[in-house]
């Protein structure tokens, strides 16, 4: 019951007028960011980050996490009404959400999506409440070797399970790790990879990279495509919401299954995007109405939406307890934590209970606020999408450029962000995943430090990563995940061979 007392204390922190105000502001900005092209959740959090430097950390994290919830909901709105996923994690929602809207069931699809999101988020935050202390206690036993193994696991999970081309994921990760080494070495104080450029001494800010890769890159991609936006007008009335709420029990199996998938993918570094796709795929395989999928099946909205939010919420736990973010947005927040002077990890739970439990309590309240606000404001935000993209894109670009400046009032950062924008555009066109690069930039220094400390402890003996059952099993699991693409390819061709022989 220790957790319950801590949670009650968290509610005392979260339920002040100032913090509830921040939640409302955060959610509204988040919905806007989720609806607008080129402004996703990771980029939105990066753009808001400089504004939080002067806030108490707990207020800052409440603002940023609320924005995240709003962005997830905003992303679903454009998926359903415009067939344009506002967030990568809302792609699976377009498959059945948009057909539903076209059949005149837009209000039903939207309220279903929002209510399921709320349910997924609730399951995620309840899970966090229950297991947070245990995971933190568990992580207290970690030495640098275990930490390096966990970082390795995060990287390998992206390559093995991320769903993109494993080689391209590896390139994205390795470029991110290389970028993280630029600047002053934390151990020896030597200047690395600066090639005499003063601008590079501070290193490359991951905020600048996120604004460029996710924001400017996305805008350039939008200019690349010419598809005309055809939206469906919708207003969500209270009666429709209540009717959908009454129908929710019909989807109990899908809800529970999708929430479980989401929580699992959030806790392990799979992230909301992988979770929503996996959940949609599983639903399509096991549903009784599987032939109706892709043609406006409500279960095809329920499944990805529930998982998306369950994963988005539970991704914050490994970020807090282990310092390993489960999604790109969580990675940006992790970077923020370090800027605010907090050390993510198990000690955070002992040293800053106000921060940890204030955040967890705020997640209950902010997700409720988010669902209510998005239901009330959908028509207003959807109308933003009717502004021609030719007018909208330069305005969003101006926001990104100004945001890059605000990171450290530096003209070099602005040009760097545009450079990252071109790289992000190319990566998008050629199907390179961007999230691993951001994750690697944020975790690069920490994983290098953990590695060097482990090597110091073992005097250069690599077997330290198998020196006890804990670190050994994490390292082995990581290597298995890394080898998974090759293994599955071998298994598949073996199966085909034996089938051929059998025939």
């Amino acid at each position: 019951m220790e957790g319950l007392a801590a949670l009650l204390h968290g509610f005392e922190v979260a339920l002040t007028a100032y913090h509830i105000g921040l939640m409302v502001v955060g959610v509204l900005i988040g919905i806007l960011v989720g609806v607008l092209p080129g402004l996703g959740a990771p980029n939105g959090v990066a753009l808001l980050m400089p504004l939080t430097f002067f806030m108490p950390p707990v207020s800052a994290i409440i603002l940023l996490s609320s924005m995240y919830w709003g962005a997830l909901l905003g992303g679903s709105t454009t998926s359903i009404l415009f067939n344009i996923p506002g967030e990568p994690s809302s792609v699976a929602t377009t498959f059945d959400g948009h057909p539903m809207a076209k059949q005149g069931k837009a209000a039903e699809a939207l309220s279903l999506a929002f209510l399921c999101s709320g349910f997924g988020a609730l399951v995620g935050v309840i899970t966090i409440t229950i297991v947070a202390d245990d995971i933190a206690d568990f992580a207290l036993r970690f030495s640098p070797a275990e930490y390096f193994a966990v970082y390795l696991l995060a990287f390998c999970a992206f390559i093995g399970m991320g769903g993109s081309d494993p080689l391209k994921t590896a390139v994205s990760l390795l470029v991110g790790l290389s970028l993280a080494t630029i600047g002053m070495d934390t151990v020896s104080g030597e200047m690395r990879l600066t090639f005499g450029q003063d601008q590079l001494v501070r290193g490359i800010s991951f905020l600048v990279a996120v604004i460029g890769l996710f924001g400017i890159g996305e805008l350039l991609s939008t200019a690349d495509e010419t598809e005309k936006v055809e939206g469906i007008r919708a207003r969500v009335r209270l009666a429709a919401v209540l009717r959908t709420l009454a129908e929710m029990p019909r989807y109990t199996v899908a809800l529970v299954r999708s929430a479980a998938i989401g929580v699992w993918m959030g806790l392990t570094p799979g992230g909301p995007t992988a979770a929503s796709f996996m959940s949609y795929g599983v639903a399509r395989r096991f549903s009784k109405r599987r032939e109706n999928f892709g043609k406006g099946e409500p279960e095809g909205v329920v499944s990805p939406e529930t998982s998306d939010h369950a994963a988005g919420v539970s991704a914050l736990l490994p970020m807090l307890a282990l310092g390993v973010p489960g999604s790109a947005t969580a990675a940006v927040m992790l970077g923020g934590l370090m800027i605010w002077g907090l050390q993510p990890g198990p000690m955070l739970f002992q040293d800053k209970p106000d921060f940890v439990w204030g955040l967890i309590a705020s997640m209950y309240v902010a997700n409720l606020v988010a669902v209510v606000l998005v239901l009330a404001t959908v028509p207003i935000f959807a109308s933003v999408m009717r502004v021609p993209i030719g007018l909208l894109a330069p305005m969003i670009m101006a926001i990104c450029i100004s945001g890059a400046w605000m990171v450290s009032s530096n003209g070099f950062d602005v040009l760097l962000a545009i450079g990252f924008g071109v790289v992000g555009y190319m990566m998008k066109k050629l199907d390179y995943p961007i999230a691993p690069m951001v994750l690697a930039m944020v975790l690069g220094d920490k994983s290098e430090d953990a590695f060097r400390q482990s090597m110091l402890m073992s005097r250069g003996d690599l077997t330290i990563f198998w020196s006890n059952w804990l670190v050994g099993s994490i390292t082995t699991l990581a290597l298995l995940l890394l080898a998974w693409p090759v293994l599955s390819w071998l298994l598949r061709s073996r199966a085909q061979d034996s089938r051929r022989i059998a025939e």
Partner: protein
């Protein structure tokens, strides 16, 4: 890369180009790491130990990727006709805007940028273009400078007006 320039390059050329660019970046990382201790020093692995190995791995993986594209790449178009021109129409003015920010401040370049983009690229009317070009920087000024106290870049005009 080649697709950006003339729209001549196919998808395969772009894939190979991207992989080679990644390998090239890996080579830069290795070169940079070689200026430090890439082996063992008195405090464990030297400053160049980690980047040296990461750079080598990057070259290896990127070379594999390039080889796979050369041997078994999918031919096809990198971008639709007209797309490179539309991307450039957004990218080039943005680059000018970004470069002008440090010497000229945020507000004047932003106004000119928004005006140019609204008139030339979006082909909006003068009234709407001016509305966007004036309202947005004004909104930024109120939000960031007055309300939140986070300064944007200032240039000679702001200095002359005494806004600092």
């Amino acid at each position: 890369m080649s697709g950006l320039k003339g729209g001549l390059g196919g998808r395969r050329t772009a894939e190979v180009g991207m992989a080679l660019a990644a390998a090239g970046f890996g080579a830069v990382v290795v070169f940079g790491a070689l200026q430090h201790d890439t082996g063992w020093g008195p405090t464990g692995p030297g400053a160049g130990y980690f980047p040296f190995r990461i750079g080598l791995l990057l070259i290896g993986v990127a070379a594999l990727l390039a080889l796979r594209q050369v041997l078994a790449g999918v031919p096809g178009r990198f971008s639709e006709p007209g797309a490179p021109r539309r991307v450039a129409a957004l990218l080039v003015p943005t680059l000018v805007f970004g470069a002008a920010m440090a010497p000229l401040g945020a507000y004047v370049p932003m106004m000119l940028y928004l005006l140019w983009m609204a008139r030339r690229t979006a082909r909006a009317g003068w009234a709407l273009s001016f509305l966007i070009a004036l309202a947005m920087p004004a909104g930024f000024f109120l939000l960031f400078e007055v309300w939140l106290g986070v300064p944007l870049a200032k240039g000679p005009l702001e200095e002359a007006l005494g806004i600092y």
